[in-house]
């Protein structure tokens, strides 16, 4: 493997890993904010327990999202310096805005929220978690604006003298039609992810008939959110497919592994092909579906890989403009499949919950709910692998090849070192993180209001002026 392959593997691994935590952060921050709002408005301790229980799980996850995010920013320069020079004038701006506007807000108010129980007035403390929730979404918006520019570059011109892309309109970059569908798709997927997390964990407790009041309320919330955002992720994904067909026809053709243009085109749910993927031996197909997904018209024409390859060569010169077809084909299906199963479980659960019944009493439902927790995470990961691998060989579509973006003088051993170190570190941290989540899930919500005074603090001889101070409600 050369430095390019290693750098690509590293980008894939650290990005997918980072994005295991991010959607939970985005979704859970809002849901915890909603729980705390319910407590603020009703004073019902049930909602406080919910806030504390899910808030703690949220924070365990949040820490991982924060620390793995730094790698994301650094590795553009470390492994992709040629890319950074080419795009910096355009691509750097949304990144800098994200950091200044969203990250500062998030990092400041998360600290205020964690340590602010009892120290801030209730209303202000509530505002803190809402600001965190808003900032996570702002952050998603700006980073997706940056990514959308790689998928569909706008608002720039090429300066041939400097050999770089130069910004002509920041508004065009932020208002990219690609981001108008990509951001809603990612944000709705994040809520679905958080909802599945809540459903699975509540089912675990409800099956054991413990903490029923808190868990029942949580589960209901999970079902409703999963259902709403399951629909949302489908609709936004459908809109995104149409934009993608128009802007990156090769990606759509590669998603379906359709070699020759077809009208109408059917969607294959799965297929068995020859090992090279070029011809099909067996498949299960839904007629007209691909035409509808791609164009909005059941009889619309979907261009095939061979045609697009020919057109690309005419436009960009000789070369192979095809991504790895089996990867795009299968990741596209897994993304959709795992997403749909999650939403279907929520619909089923909501129906089973009617009349005060407990769907998690049934062992099969409890197990299904538990196993569904990772499904949206898998769907998210496959979605990213699909959209990034489907853009290849481009790193910036139609402007720069991935092979040209890599750092010219960073050797394979250097990248291999960083790939190995980060992968091992991430594996260890994953074990620790999952272990902690499981521990805190099992511990359940606090039995009574944890914000009350804590008994028997150790007195300090030098406490002097602070003699009357109570212990911190929360301390690391």
């Amino acid at each position: 493997m050369d430095a390019l392959d290693l750098a690509r593997w590293q980008f894939g691994i650290v990005t997918v890993y980072h994005f295991l935590f991010v959607p939970l952060t985005i979704g859970l921050s809002f849901l915890v904010a909603l729980m705390q709002t319910a407590w603020y408005r009703t004073g019902d301790p049930k909602f406080l327990k919910m806030t504390k229980f899910w808030g703690k799980l949220f924070l365990i996850n949040f820490a991982m999202g924060v620390v793995t995010g730094i790698v994301q920013e650094f590795q553009f320069g470390m492994n992709w310096s040629a890319y950074s020079r080419f795009v910096g004038d355009v691509f750097g701006a949304p990144l800098a805005i994200e950091a200044l506007v969203a990250f500062f807000l998030e990092a400041t108010f998360i600290g205020l929220w964690i340590f602010g129980w009892d120290r801030l007035p209730k209303g202000i403390h509530l505002v803190c978690i809402w600001l965190v929730a808003i900032s996570t979404n702002l952050s998603a918006f700006f980073i997706l604006a940056a990514n959308s520019w790689m998928q569909h570059p706008v608002g720039f011109e090429i300066n041939p003298e400097r050999g770089r892309a130069e910004l002509t309109s920041l508004w065009a970059v932020l208002n990219n039609s690609t981001n108008q569908v990509a951001y809603p798709h990612v944000a709705t997927a994040a809520f679905l992810t958080a909802a599945a997390f809540i459903i699975g964990i509540s089912a675990w407790h409800l099956y054991r008939r413990q903490h029923t009041e808190v868990m029942r309320e949580s589960m209901k919330m999970g079902f409703v959110v999963a259902l709403i955002f399951g629909v949302g992720v489908t609709v936004s994904g459908d809109l995104q497919a149409k934009v993608m067909t128009e802007q990156q026809p090769m990606k759509m053709a590669a998603a379906e592994a359709i070699w020759d243009s077809q009208a109408p085109a059917s969607f294959s749910v799965f297929s068995v092909g020859t090992p090279d993927g070029k011809s099909e031996l067996f498949s299960v197909r839904v007629p007209y579906l691909l035409s509808f997904m791609a164009t909005g018209d059941p009889n619309g024409e979907v261009e095939g890989i061979r045609d697009i390859q020919r057109e690309s060569e005419e436009q960009f010169g000789p070369g192979d403009y095809r991504p790895i077809i089996p990867v795009t084909y299968w990741t596209f299906r897994y993304m959709i499949g795992f997403g749909i199963v999650t939403a279907a479980l929520a619909l089923l659960g909501l129906i089973m919950m009617r009349g005060g019944r407990n769907p998690a009493e049934k062992r099969w439902f409890y197990l299904a709910a538990l196993w569904t927790i990772p499904f949206p995470l898998i769907a998210n990961s496959f979605g990213w692998v699909f959209t990034e691998m489907g853009r290849q060989p481009w790193v910036v579509y139609s402007q720069m090849f991935t092979a040209d973006g890599v750092s010219p003088l960073v050797g394979p051993w250097t990248v291999a070192t960083s790939l190995t170190v980060l992968t091992l570190l991430y594996l260890v941290l994953a074990v620790v993180e999952v272990g902690l989540i499981v521990r805190y899930v099992k511990a359940g919500p606090p039995e009574d209001d944890a914000s009350g005074p804590i008994e028997s603090p150790e007195r300090d001889a030098g406490a002097g002026t602070d003699e009357g101070d109570r212990p911190l409600t929360f301390a690391y």
Binding site: I70, S81, A96, L436, I454, P457
Partner: protein, 343 residues
């Protein structure tokens, strides 16, 4: 002043902000086993920075992203060139951040001890390597016509770079001790003050050595004035510490940290990464920057965004202004931290 020069100042401001804030976080982390002799003591220390470490660290993310947006060529050369030190910094910051959050989540001495190691290493390593990195930026590194770094890890481990690294480690340790003295009550406060007085002497020696070397090799009038002010601030800070004026001590050492960053940036200007291969290959404020269009747009965003950030971060420090001590640490472990019986 051109827009590129304005952004050079702003990038300097962001890095100064980063070291101003995370500098004492690093110090607190480094001194964890020294000042925090039992678990409660260590928890007191960690909780002095508990609510703010994340926002302090975010200054690095903002500085890095601003470097990318405003000086893409600088960002690209620096990050691809200083690859392994940056990798180590990343690993350190990852471990350290997770450690703060996870340390108290399990009530087990072995668990906490492991995270303590992560906090100490995660504080020493970046404090050292940022010093090495910035000293080398100023010293100059081999850069070819394409703007790529042609050296290796050992290129960076030269005496001047290492002195810079040691100076920042000791400076941040002093800064951290003074911060602990400012934010705590009880024995730890007095111990922190005494410790600051001792390591402060080392910080003055190493810092003065580094500043003199910087001035002789790379200095101009501006950097001379700033290095003198930096040295004066540091010595005055230590004098205030000796006279038990913790607020003054903290403010003055903080000024020295900012002064050090300012000295380096002023000495660096108008280069951003001088090339030792051929001065013609040096990256400068003008040839490494983004277009005036991008810089103008970013200036507006910074002009509206930064004051708001400074306000709410200032307010956060005000909210958590109280000193804490051993009595502040809850004695019962948080709910879930002890093993629970399966019901």
């Amino acid at each position: 002043m051109t827009l590129a020069e304005f952004w050079f100042v702003l990038v300097g401001f962001l890095f100064a902000g980063y070291f101003l804030l995370e500098g004492f976080d690093f110090g607190v982390g480094m001194l964890l086993p020294v000042l925090g002799r039992d678990d409660t003591g260590r928890r007191v220390m960690i909780n002095t920075i508990g609510p703010v470490w994340d926002m302090n660290e975010t200054w690095l993310i903002v500085a890095g992203a601003s470097l990318f947006a405003a000086f893409p060529y600088w960002y690209a050369t620096l990050f691809s060139g200083f690859y392994l030190p940056l990798l180590l910094i990343l690993v350190a910051l990852i471990l350290r951040g997770v450690a703060f959050e996870y340390r108290g989540k399990v009530d087990d001495p072995v668990w906490r001890q492991r995270w303590d190691i992560a906090i100490v290493a995660g504080s020493v390593v970046p404090a050292l390597l940022w010093g090495v990195a910035f000293a080398n930026i100023l010293r100059g590194v081999p850069i070819n016509a394409n703007g790529d770094f042609t050296g290796n890890l050992f290129t960076l481990l030269n005496p001047y770079g290492l002195l810079g690294g040691l100076a920042t480690v000791v400076l941040f340790a002093t800064y951290g001790a003074i911060f602990v003295a400012l934010k705590t009550v009880g024995d730890i406060r007095y111990e922190a003050r005494a410790l600051a007085a001792k390591i402060g002497v080392v910080a003055v020696v190493l810092g003065a050595g580094f500043l003199v070397w910087t001035q002789l090799q790379h200095g101009d009038l501006g950097s001379l004035v700033l290095s003198v002010l930096t040295a004066v601030a540091l010595v005055a800070g230590l004098a205030a510490n000796a006279r038990e004026r913790e607020g003054w001590a903290f403010g003055l050492v903080a000024a020295a940290v900012v002064g050090l960053v300012a000295t380096l940036f002023v000495a660096l200007f108008p280069d951003v990464m001088p090339s030792t291969t051929d001065p013609a290959y040096s990256l400068t404020v003008e040839n490494a920057s983004s277009t005036p269009k991008t810089l103008a747009v970013m200036s507006w965003i910074a002009a509206f965004g930064l004051p708001v950030v400074l306000l709410y971060q200032g307010w956060t420090y005000w909210v958590f202004r109280k000193r804490i001590g051993r009595h502040s640490i809850p004695t019962s472990p948080q709910h879930g931290a002890t093993p629970v019986a399966r019901s």
